[in-house]
Amino acid sequence: MPYEPVIGLEVHIQLSTVSKIFCSCSTRFGAAPNTQVCPVCAGLPGVLPVLNRKVVEFAVRLGLATQCHINRKAVFARKNYFYPDLPKGYQISQFDLPFCQDGKIDIEVEGKVKAIRINRIHAEEDAGKSMHAETYVAAGETLVDLNRCGVPLLEVVSEPDIFSPQEAHAYLSCFRRLVRYLEICDGNMEEGSLRCDANISLRPVGTTALGVKTEIKNMNSFSHVEKALAYEISRQAELLERGERIVQETRLWNDGRGITESMRAKEFSHDYRYFPEPDLVPVEIDSQWIDRTRAEMPELPAAKRQRFIGDYSLSTADAEVLTEDRRLAEYFEAVVRESGDARTAATWVLGELLRALNERKHTIEQLRATPAHLAALLKLVAAGGINRAIARETFAIMLESGQMPDEIIRERGWSQINDSQVLEKAVDAVIAECPDETAAFRNGKEKVFGFLMGQVMRRTRGQANPQQLEQLLRQKLDDGNKRY
C-alpha cells in the first residue's frame, strides 16, 4: 500500500539579544563555562525575573512576517520538569496565551508555491548545556554549564502541512532566510541557534486521518533533517507493511549510523503541570505597538525578489541569489544607485563579489570594498578608463586594501591605453616579432588571431583598449595581405 508522510516541524530560534530573557547576563556563545550566570538564571530563591523588551519586539516582528494573529495579552507559564540543566525545576515558557498564533509561511517546491500554516509562536528560556558524551566526560558523570540558561528562544510550531523531506527543507530554508532578514536570529544550525524537531506519521495515500506519530530530535543541519525524515518514512512504512504498529515515542537521529534510534520511552507520560508564572506579569501588546513594529519591518525576501525582477529586469534565478541574504541585496542596490547600471552591477555582484566572499569565507560586512568602491570601478570600465581584465585585478586589490579603484589604477599606472599611436607601435612590434604566425594568419588561419592579440596585450601589460586593439590589429594584418 502506498503511504504518504505527514510532517509538522517545531523550530526553536535563539534570539540575537545581547542579554538574557529575564536577567542582564550576556548571551554570548563560547564563553568559559558558568561565567555568564547570575542569581536569576541560576534559579536561586528569592529572585525576580524581568522580561527583556526586545524579546517581545522580536516575537511581534516574526509574528507579523508570518501573518500571525498577535495576541493582545500574552502570559508566561511554568513548565515543570526535573533535569540537571534546568536549575529552577521549571522552564518559563508560554502555554495558552503565546505571543502569536495562526500564521503561515509560503514555501516554493519545484516552482509551486504552498502555504505551511503556523500554529503558534511562543517565547521561552533556554536550558543549560549538559555534557555526557563519553568522549568528553568519565563514565557515570554528566557535567553542566549554566551559561545558556535564560537565553531567549522563540518556538515556532507548524501545522502538519509538510508532505515530504524536500518540503521540510524548503520550509526551513525559507524560515531561516526570514529570521535573518528580520535580524532576530543568526540562523546557525550547527551552533544550535536554530534547532528543529519533527513530528512525522504515515497514512495510506488518499486518506485524511492521521497515523501514530514519532518525534525526531537531534538534527543539527538541513541535511540531517532531510536524511532523518527520509529514514523515518521508510522505517514506518516497513513496520506498517508488516502489519505492525508504530509506537508513539521520541527518536534521536544518529547521523554516524544514518538511522533514528528510540530514546527509550519513559514509563509514564509527561505531565508538565503548566500554570501561569506568578513572577512575571502579563504582556499587553496594543495596536500602537504592533503598528510601530510593522512600520520598522524590513522588506521581506519574497517581496524583494519580485521587486528586483521588475525594477532591474533580472532573471528569477539571479534575483533569488541576490535576495538570499539581505545584506547582499542591499549592497547590490547601493551599487546600482551609484553606478546607474543594474545589469553590470548584477554581473559583478553575482560573479566576482560572491566568488571573493566564498573564497575568503567572509560575510559582506567584512569586505573592505563598499558599494561606492564597486560602483566607481564599474564607472571606470564604462567610461573606457580600464578594460575588464584590469578591472578584475583592481577589484581583488580593492577587497584587500579598501583603496578606491582610481587610486589603485593611478598608483600602478594601469590606465587603459586608448592612444592609437601607442597601440600601433605595439602592433607593429608584434608583427615584426612573429613573422610565422603573421604569415599563417594571412594564409587564412584565423585561429592565430587570438595569439597575436595576446602578444600585443602582453606588450601593453594588459592595458590596451581591447576593441580598439582588435580593430587596429585586423587592419594591419589585412593591409599586409593587400601588399603581398
Binding site: 542579554s19 558558568n34 550566570v37 526586545k54 553542566v144 502579563p282 504582556v283
Partner: protein, 98 residues
C-alpha cells in the same frame, strides 16, 4: 477520587519516594484539598476571563542591556561536586526535554 496510582505518579514527577503508609495519608489529604477546590465549581463564571495574576500590572519590562554576572566561584559555591568549572552530576541518559 484520588487513587494510590495518582499519588505515585505525582511523587514520581517530584522525584520523591514514600512508604505505603505515607501514600495513604496523601490520598486522604489530596481528596480533602480537591473537594475543597470543588466548591469553586458552584460559581457561575460564564463570560468571566480566567485570572492569571491578581496584581493590576502589565508590561514590566527591562531594556536589553548587560550587567555583571556572578564570579564563577559564587555560581559554583553551593555545588556538591564540580569539575573544571562545571557542575558534576550523576550521568543523565538521553537528551534534555526542551
Amino acid at each position: 477520587m484520588i487513587t494510590v496510582h495518582d499519588v505515585e505518579q505525582i511523587a514520581r514527577l517530584a522525584k520523591l519516594e514514600f512508604t505505603d503508609e505515607e501514600k495513604h495519608r496523601f490520598i486522604k489529604s489530596f481528596n480533602e484539598i480537591l473537594s475543597y477546590v470543588e466548591l469553586l465549581n458552584e460559581l457561575d463564571l460564564d463570560g468571566i476571563e480566567p485570572t492569571t495574576h491578581v496584581v493590576p500590572l502589565q508590561n514590566v519590562l527591562r531594556e536589553d542591556c548587560l550587567e555583571f554576572s556572578l564570579p564563577r566561584e559564587k555560581v559554583m559555591q553551593n555545588a556538591p561536586e564540580q569539575k573544571e568549572g562545571l557542575f558534576r552530576v550523576p550521568k543523565v541518559i538521553g537528551a534534555s526535554d526542551e
